[in-house]
């Protein structure tokens, strides 16, 4: 969620059961502004918190010109000192998926080790032991990347893609209406398009290429992996992801206020199809 609106947006997501103490809020407001100035971001968002055994990580996201592509992540242990997370590469994702398991420890220099047995093919039949080591910092970067890929949400119409391909905020976005906010169709994934929209011409008749360039939430598999509710005496529309437990998205209908935050232990809910 945007650092400018921290003071009131945190109240909207408080119904998910996780709040920040008064000290943390105050510290975040100061340090996020400093971050914005130092790194010359256009906007700084509090992305969320990943809970670890010894300590928790606060994660912030800075956005540049293009909201979709210019994204940098930073983490902090005490809300004041921020460190840049490494950008995620394919090899890093592979390493992390092999070695890192279980809860986050809370120490960024902690190294996960895993011995992987690799057998040679064909006639070789030699068992080689490969030791894969991954630091928790990399695991953090990869987890944050996965969560954004899978479950970052924006309401339809909040972002516009200019003909040049640049994505930026729609200043004339007035918010979804009450009835629109009850449908999962009005929410889009904020990431590079994966599935594309292969719907029939009837359904795409109302769409405009500037707004509808992202995947719709209701196309997620398995169906029902989102929980849409109205909270705070039914004023705020809250979307919770069941795939990554802890991601909460809020939107106040008829106003342009929206945002999402992830507060959780950074583990994907692989039991989801059994739990529905």
């Amino acid at each position: 969620m945007d650092s400018n609106s921290l003071c009131y947006s945190l109240d909207f997501v408080a119904s998910s059961g996780r709040v920040l103490t008064g000290e943390q809020r105050a510290a975040l407001q100061t340090s996020l502004l400093i971050l914005k100035k130092n790194y010359k971001f256009h906007r700084v968002m509090l992305w969320g918190k990943i809970l670890g055994i010894k300590q928790d990580y606060f994660i912030a996201q800075g956005r540049g010109e293009d909201e979709l592509k210019d994204q940098k992540y930073l983490y902090s242990l005490n809300c004041m000192d921020w460190l840049l997370l490494p950008t995620v590469t394919e090899s890093m994702i592979e390493e992390v998926s092999k070695a890192a398991k279980g809860l986050f420890i809370g120490d960024p220099s902690f190294v996960y080790e895993q011995k992987i047995q690799s057998q040679g093919e064909g006639e070789e039949a030699v068992d080689g032991n490969e030791l894969v080591r991954v630091s928790e910092e990399k695991r953090l970067a990869v987890t944050v990347h996965h969560i954004d890929e899978d479950v970052s949400v924006v309401p339809r119409g909040a972002f516009i893609r200019s003909p040049l391909g640049l994505v930026h905020i729609n200043r004339s976005f007035d918010g979804l209406s009450e009835s629109e906010a009850r449908k999962l169709d009005s929410f889009l994934h904020f990431r590079a398009v994966k599935k594309g929209n292969k719907k029939s011409i009837e359904e795409t008749g109302e769409w405009s290429p500037a707004i509808d360039f992202l995947d719709v939430l209701s196309d997620d598999t398995p169906k029902g992996s989102w929980s849409l509710q109205f909270e705070c005496a039914s004023r705020v529309c809250v979307l919770r992801s069941l795939l990554w437990l802890g991601l909460t998205f809020y939107h106040v209908p008829m106003t342009p206020q929206h945002g999402y935050i992830y507060i959780g232990n950074g583990l994907k809910n692989l039991d989801l199809p059994f739990m529905l």
Binding site: D11, T21, E23, S234
Partner: protein, 436 residues
């Protein structure tokens, strides 16, 4: 359109006039023309002075077209439509009114509810909470519950999230003399069924009886003891009526240990799972609440002391209840955080069987079975007669580390069941727990 001087003027004028006529030609589909539309569009831009208008000009154009439609329908009067929000707030309004018939007593009445505002503050320091307004509403709803059901004691247990709606759970002590109405009803139904089945058997030719003896159900614990020590009430939102959850049976607890399902938010929806869960969502909710309470309710060492010490130290039966220790002194916060042994469970552990006190379910085999089988079965039952002993009531948390947690597949690594921290509040130092 400026008029131009000169001989070209006439031709320029006619061209301009032609073009203007083209612009003003009505579209065949909608009764509008481009000229009017562009005029309105530019007027709107002039009025609003939007930033970067060239980038959003298409949106503004759409908005202008859309605005037309609103004008046409304004002849109908809007029916006041009650949104769900308004309906809910009507019900929540009752929370804030005090009934007139309560006479203000002069003496201080012992409050039945704990101070929810204070608890809310401490929970906030632990980064857990529901927001101040929500906690306030919950507090008022709890007060309503206590008044309507005349409960001796009640506290907020927590909130459970569901897919369509959530549950707010309150834990309360049973009123004195309350009997488990459900078990009475069940017994009545069984008694009625027995005479009917006997009549049927007499009429039909006796089919070969199956030798399979179905697993006998472990009996439920009586209310006020063990897993059924407290009554639980749930509501969806503060202000809506509280619903009492049924008592929990050991079979439900054992199966709840094996399945993992989301709650939908409707108490009577069925829980489809394998192994099949005996009951609907209300029972599943109650079983999970029982498991969570048994596994995670803790207090500082020494706060409670075991009650009824009648000298039976050799007895394997764990203590049933504990009382607040009047000699409890405040322990230093830093000491408490360092080791897990300064915290103890104060709710009974639930055994494998699903109850807190063990029950021997070995029953004599039925009379009409073969004699050979009788002998075998008796031997089997004798082997199984080993009472299950769970950790006794006030065991410290450091012994939790050795137990197998529900979903853990860790063999070599330690099972991190609990996380301890000190909140950094300036004056109040509070212990923070998180059960992973």
């Amino acid at each position: 359109i400026r008029t131009m001087e000169g001989p070209l003027e006439n031709r320029g004028n006619t061209e301009a006039a032609n073009f203007k006529a083209l612009l003003m030609k009505d579209s065949t589909k909608s009764k509008r023309n481009l000229y009017d539309h562009l005029t309105q569009l530019l007027t709107k831009v002039m009025d609003e002075h939007t930033n970067n208008v060239v980038d959003v000009i298409e949106e503004i154009s759409h908005d202008v077209k859309r605005d037309l439609f609103n004008g046409i329908q304004s002849s109908l009067r809007d029916l006041p439509q009650f949104t769900a929000a308004e309906l809910l707030t009507e019900q929540q309004r009752t929370l804030f009114y005090q009934p007139d018939d309560i006479i203000q007593e002069d003496k201080m009445v012992e409050t039945v509810l704990p101070n929810v505002n204070e608890i809310g503050f401490y929970l906030e320091q632990a980064e857990v909470g529901l927001g101040r307004e929500e906690m306030q509403r919950i507090f008022l709803a709890l007060k309503n519950l206590v008044d309507s059901e005349q409960l001796p004691r009640c506290r907020l247990w927590g909130k459970i999230f569901g897919i369509e709606s959530n549950y707010i759970v309150a834990e309360a002590e049973y009123r004195e003399g309350e009997e488990d109405q459900e078990s009475i009803e069940e017994n009545l139904v069984e008694e009625e069924r027995k005479p009917e089945s006997l009549e049927d058997e007499a009429e039909i030719n006796p089919l070969p009886q199956s030798i399979y003896k179905s697993h006998l159900d472990v009996p439920k614990e009586a209310i006020g003891t063990g897993a059924n020590k407290f009554a639980y009430y749930v509501c969806k939102e503060p202000g809506l009526p509280w619903i009492k959850l049924p008592t929990v049976s050991p079979a439900q607890i054992t199966i709840a240990r094996q399945i993992r399902k989301f709650f939908t938010g409707k108490l009577n929806s069925s829980v489809e799972s394998y192994p099949p869960f005996p009951g609907n969502e209300a029972n599943y909710l109650r079983a999970q609440i029982a498991r969570i309470s048994a596994g995670t309710h803790v207090s500082p060492n020494g706060f409670y002391q075991a009650g009824d010490e009648e000298g039976d130290e050799e007895d394997d039966i764990p203590h049933d209840s504990c009382e607040v220790n009047p000699n409890f002194e405040d322990v230093q916060a830093s000491l408490m955080v360092e080791s897990l042994s300064s915290w103890v469970h104060h709710v009974q552990h639930i055994l494998q069987q699903g109850r807190c006190t063990w029950v021997n379910i070995a029953v004599k085999p039925a009379d009409d079975s073969n004699e050979e089988i009788e002998g075998d079965e008796k031997e089997e039952y004798l082997d199984e007669v080993e009472p299950e002993i769970g950790p006794s009531l006030l065991t410290p948390l450091s012994q939790d580390a050795g137990q197998n947690l529900h979903n853990s597949k860790k063999k070599k690594k330690k099972a991190y069941g609990w996380v301890l921290k000190i909140g950094e509040a300036f004056q109040n130092i509070c212990q923070v727990f998180r059960k992973n």
